[in-house]
Amino acid sequence: MTGQLKKIVLGEQGLVVIFIVAFALVSLLVPNFLTDRNMLGLLQSVVTVGIVACTMMFCLAARDFDLSVGSIVAFAGMVAVMASNASGSILLGLLAAIACGTFVGFINGVVIAKFRINALITTLATMQIVRGLALISSDGRAVGINSPDFYQLALSKLLGIPTPIWVLAILFGIFGFVLNRTVFGKNTLAIGGNPEASRLAGVNVDRTRIWIFALQGFVCGIAGILLASRITSGQPNAAVGLELSVISACVLGGVSLAGGRAAMSGVIVGVLIMGIAENVMNLLNIAAFYQYIVRGVILLLAVLLDNLRSSAFGRR
């Protein structure tokens, strides 16, 4: 019996199992947690982190880093609002936002892959540059949305579930498929495992990396649009520090920073764990300062558990 149990908890899907147990416990113990409204609120609160985590997973799996995501999200949100306002067409605004996000990501990718500049530094630089652009373009102030239709992006519902949650679910699905079932996904993992060997095996490493960053930018564009719609304005200071939340969620989900290891299921669980932690702390009315400590401890515990699991199976 215990052997059986151990196998389940420590197996491939161990993190998922742990998560389910934790979820059940929280549902029982925390009042107001397991209600429709709270669940929807919880899911909506992880939309930005979750969307960006999809591609951050690729980035980390390829042994890279992207610190610029927060800035791109804010910038794309600004662009979406300003372009919509200026052109009077929401569609144009959305396209412009996604184009801008993708462009920044593309530039990141080119600088990193072609000029071989460390990804951490490159994205640290673009993080500042893009944040600067967002601030300059609006003179540091939030920009309101003229057309109320824009809010509908975030407010509209399908089958009782808000659109942003659908978008998140669809992206989870797409990127899970891309990671495991496409050449691009496999190449990404191979690059993370051994970039030089992958290159010699005919993988176009530079192009793959550029694609990864461009995709990251694209996805940040989507996240930026949904965020702007949710907060009904473009805010140059939005999503500060997003990069660390996203990276934490990925690592919690078992993505290895040393590259070569990633799974969509893990990332989803990582994102949810982070969201639930925030949600429960607020439900339990934990004082702001203690939230810091709780957040840190949860992070540690989660990786520690995952580690026990891996080392029980002899892998590092």
Binding site: V183, R199, G202, V203, S256, G314
Partner: protein
């Protein structure tokens, strides 16, 4: 009881029983050979001896004392030095620092640099190893690195020295230096364990021999006097292999690969050669001769500064391996750890990484064909593994090499197959099978280039040999001109008498 005694050593990895109940002893002042197929458990045994891994059951005694190491450090302190199969050097540190790592001469934590250089210099000199100890290891070639690795054995006053395939990337000249060193250590009364796949080395060096098979003790010879090669091969592989080369004459057809005045940063003198369909061309040379550099240029792995490459009459760009593969050139590189295996990924993925493009549609994988390809080559190359899903780093060295070969053999429409030290670390049985495969591929019309530092190998399987020396091609010999002396003479930069180093 012998000086060094293994008793009932057993070790299991998830899904693999690497060693079961292995017992044997080695006397002082003896060189003890350890042989066996790839994955037989040789390295595992050495790792247990070094304190890197722990046996599930069984124990090791030295001089009557049971050894219970908790770390590699304990093993050092008990006079055990191990040269691992995979190079274990720190690229950013100098040779001297690498050799002193873990035991720097220091006072109050401050390194006594003078003393360090003196110690290392003296030891290197006495061992006849000629490497500038102030150079950073990252600037050394693989062979040079291997020599540095070997030099570790003499850095400490060890009682037991184990060498895991130390000659796999050495050419005959360096090998001789190593053999002299081993003879000296034997004279000093050390116990030496010597792992190798090369029978002649074993006969040249070893006093006694243990053969492992599937993790079990297959044979133990106290003396090698009355033992024959065939007997050992049979003990290892379980069948007789009469002629491991099994050379079959072939007919070379039209020229497939033409290399004209190719040059690059590390190959200053432009090189030209050609390889014909159905032909196996050998490249021989000493370490640093520039063979690997030349092949990397052909494959587009390094940027070239001049020259043209033609395949089947078509000039190709080959600006990157990606292009080269699509033009029909593949290269199986010599440095499997750095350039070959993709750590953390399964055997299946390691095999399919390049050839999968033939089976995909819109970038979506064809799972069935990936699995089939993986299974085919695991079987064909006899990769010892519990499953195709095994992480490649968990394979033995030779089995990793087979997987990398599988990666390239699974490619379609190869016109030119370049293999750089293809049988490095591969056991005799598998070697002959790989040769057989190369013959088949050649007969199918591929042009095959084999780079090897093993003279018998190039002489045994090639139709033509090109000799390189100091970064240029110094001789070309057809099969009927093959002669050890002539080849070595062309390979030697200083035109010393080849007899001195011919093995």
């Amino acid at each position: 009881m012998s000086f060094l005694e293994f008793s009932n050593v057993t070790k299991t990895y998830p899904g693999v029983r690497a060693l079961s109940d292995v017992s044997f002893g080695v006397e002082k002042g003896a060189v003890h050979g350890l042989m066996g197929e790839n994955g037989a458990g040789k390295s595992t045994l050495i790792k247990i001896l070094s304190g890197d891994q722990h046996a599930d059951t069984g124990e090791i005694t030295i001089d009557g004392k049971v050894q219970a190491y908790t770390s590699t450090r304990d093993a050092f302190d008990n006079g055990v030095i191990v040269i691992h199969q995979e190079l274990q050097l720190v690229p950013e540190l100098t040779v001297a620092e690498n050799l002193s790592l873990g035991r720097f001469p220091a006072s109050a934590g401050v390194i006594a640099r003078g003393r360090m250089l003196e110690d290392v210099g003296a030891k290197l000199k006495s061992a006849g190893i000629d490497i500038d100890m102030r150079r950073k290891v990252k600037t050394l070639s693989i062979g040079e690195r291997q020599m540095v690795e070997i030099a570790k054995a003499i850095m400490l006053d060890a009682r037991v020295i184990a060498l895991d395939e130390p000659t796999s990337s050495l050419s005959s000249r360096e090998s001789e230096i190593l053999f002299a060193l081993i003879d000296r250590l034997r004279g000093e009364g050390k116990v030496i364990i010597y792992v190798s796949h090369r029978l002649d080395e074993v006969f040249r060096l070893c006093d006694s021999l243990t053969v492992l098979r599937d993790g079990k003790l297959a044979a133990h010879h106290q003396s090698l006097k009355d033992v024959t090669r065939d007997q050992i091969v049979a003990e290892m592989v379980g069948r007789e292999i009469s002629d491991i080369w099994g050379f079959r004459p072939r007919k070379a057809r039209e020229a497939r690969l033409k290399v004209d005045n190719l040059s690059g940063a590390r190959l200053r003198t432009p090189a030209s050669f050609e390889a014909r369909a159905g032909e196996i061309v050998g490249f021989f040379g000493l370490i640093g001769a520039g063979r690997s550099e030349l092949m990397r240029l052909v494959f587009g792995a390094d940027p070239r500064s001049g020259g043209t490459i033609t395949v089947d009459g078509k000039t190709i760009a080959a600006a990157s391996p990606h292009d080269a593969i699509r033009a029909g050139i593949v290269l199986c590189s010599e440095d499997r750890k750095h350039d070959g295996i993709i750590q953390g990924r399964s055997i299946e993925e390691n095999i399919n990484i390049s050839s999968r493009r033939h089976h995909t549609r819109f970038g979506v994988l064809n799972r069935a064909s990936e699995i089939a390809t993986a299974e085919t080559f695991i079987k064909k190359l006899k990769v010892r593994t519990p499953s195709r899903k095994q992480d490649i780093v968990n394979l033995s060295g030779g089995n990793q090499q087979k997987v990398i070969l599988g990666r390239w053999l699974s490619e379609q429409d190869i016109r030119v197959l370049i293999v750089d030290e293809p049988t490095r670390g591969i056991d005799i049985g598998a070697k002959s099978e790989i040769y057989e495969l190369l013959y088949q591929l050649a007969e199918e019309g591929m042009a095959i280039v084999v780079v090897s530092s093993e003279l018998p190998e190039v002489m045994g399987i090639c139709d033509r040999i090109l000799v390189m020396c100091g970064g240029r091609i110094s001789a070309e010999l057809a099969r009927d001109q093959f002669a050890e002396k002539a080849i070595l003479a062309a390979a030697l930069p200083d035109k010393k008498t080849p007899d001195a180093i011919a093995s």
